[in-house]
Every structure is written in structure tokens, then in C-alpha cells.
Symmetry: C2
Subunit: 108 residues, 2 copies
């Protein structure tokens, strides 16, 4: 699938929140997971900027743990604010995708 970057704006962060919510995990693994899920072109740099943003906005709790096969990992878990943000994201997605699908079906 060719360039999805513009369409991902605003949704990729929500996807990251969802993944973190389903399991405490770290940047590199999140990137791999997204690649598996069909977001094939998402690269680490993108995810790390999102994770730093989440941290800066106080939506996640961060724990550093040694890895065994590389540098230590920064594990992320959602806090209450993060779960609220995730719920808000899904509400928006629901709203937007329903409108767009309706538009696609020919309008009214």
C-alpha cells in the first residue's frame, strides 16, 4: 500500500495507545507489532516520537528494564489519563469512520 502517512496523522498515536493498553510493552516491539498488523511502513523513529509525546503528556507510566539481548528496554503502561485518552480516540474514530463510510455510500 503506497504512502499512508497523511492518513495516519492523528490515528497512529491512538493505535500505539491501544497496543500499550493491551500489554505493557516497549518501542521496538510496538513497531514490530504495527508492521505485523499491516502498518508496514511505520519505522522506529516515528514510534519513539509518539512515545516521548505520550510520556510528556502524562498518559503513560514508564519502567526501564534490562533486555538480555540489547540495551535496556523502556516499558510503557497506560495510566488513568492514558485510558481516558484511548477511549476518546476510539470515540473519535467511530465518529469519523462512520461519517466517511456514509459519504462513500453516496451521501445522505
Amino acid at each position: 500500500m503506497d504512502d499512508l502517512t497523511e492518513m495516519l496523522k492523528g490515528t497512529l498515536e491512538g493505535c500505539v495507545l491501544e497496543i500499550i493498553d493491551s500489554e505493557e510493552t516497549y518501542g521496538y516491539a510496538i513497531t514490530r507489532r504495527l508492521n505485523e498488523l499491516g502498518f508496514t511502513d511505520v519505522v522506529e523513529g516515528t514510534i519513539y516520537t509518539i512515545l516521548l509525546r505520550l510520556e510528556r503528556n502524562g498518559l503513560v507510566q514508564v519502567t526501564k528494564r534490562p533486555s538480555g539481548l540489547g540495551p535496556p528496554r523502556k516499558f510503557f503502561a497506560l495510566n488513568d489519563a492514558g485510558r481516558e485518552e484511548l477511549a476518546a480516540f476510539w470515540a473519535k474514530w467511530e465518529y469519523l469512520s462512520s461519517r466517511i463510510d456514509k459519504l462513500k455510500e453516496g451521501g445522505r
Copy 2:
């Protein structure tokens, strides 16, 4: 619905293409149509920049016609390139929304 602007990036242009494809129309009317369809916060300034972009990218054919109740209108119609772009947009939307819905259903 609170701020959808980030999520609209990449999709709003496609919505405009779809509206133009369904009927030759002009900026002000497109804005009103989008507002009706639930994109309540979309304003004219946004649509005009999109229309200028479409024109610059050679996706539309433009015709100026007098209005009768205001300044002349610039009517937009898709050309072949525009219809191709629209098809590509829907393909991307289909792809992305299916992946995100799958992620929402709990992943795998």
C-alpha cells in the same frame, strides 16, 4: 465531537474529491455539504486551500459561473487524474480502516 483536525489529515481531501465526483460544485457549497454530513467544524478557509491544491495538482477542471446571489462561483469537476486519485483514496481508506478496526477488535 471535539477536535478531529489531526484525524482529518489525509482524509478531508478525499472527501472533497468524492463530493466533487458526485456533482460538479463549488467551495462554499462543499463546505455546507460537509457540515451537513457531520464534519461540523470544517470551515471555508480549509476547503479553499484544498481546492487550490487540487487545481494546482491538475485533478480538477474549473469553470467560473455567475451566481445571482453573490460573487461568481468557481465550479469544480474531476478529470481523469482526479478520478484516479479518488479511487486511490478509497483504496487507502479501505486498507487503513480495516487494519484499525482489526486492531480495535483485539489484534490478531
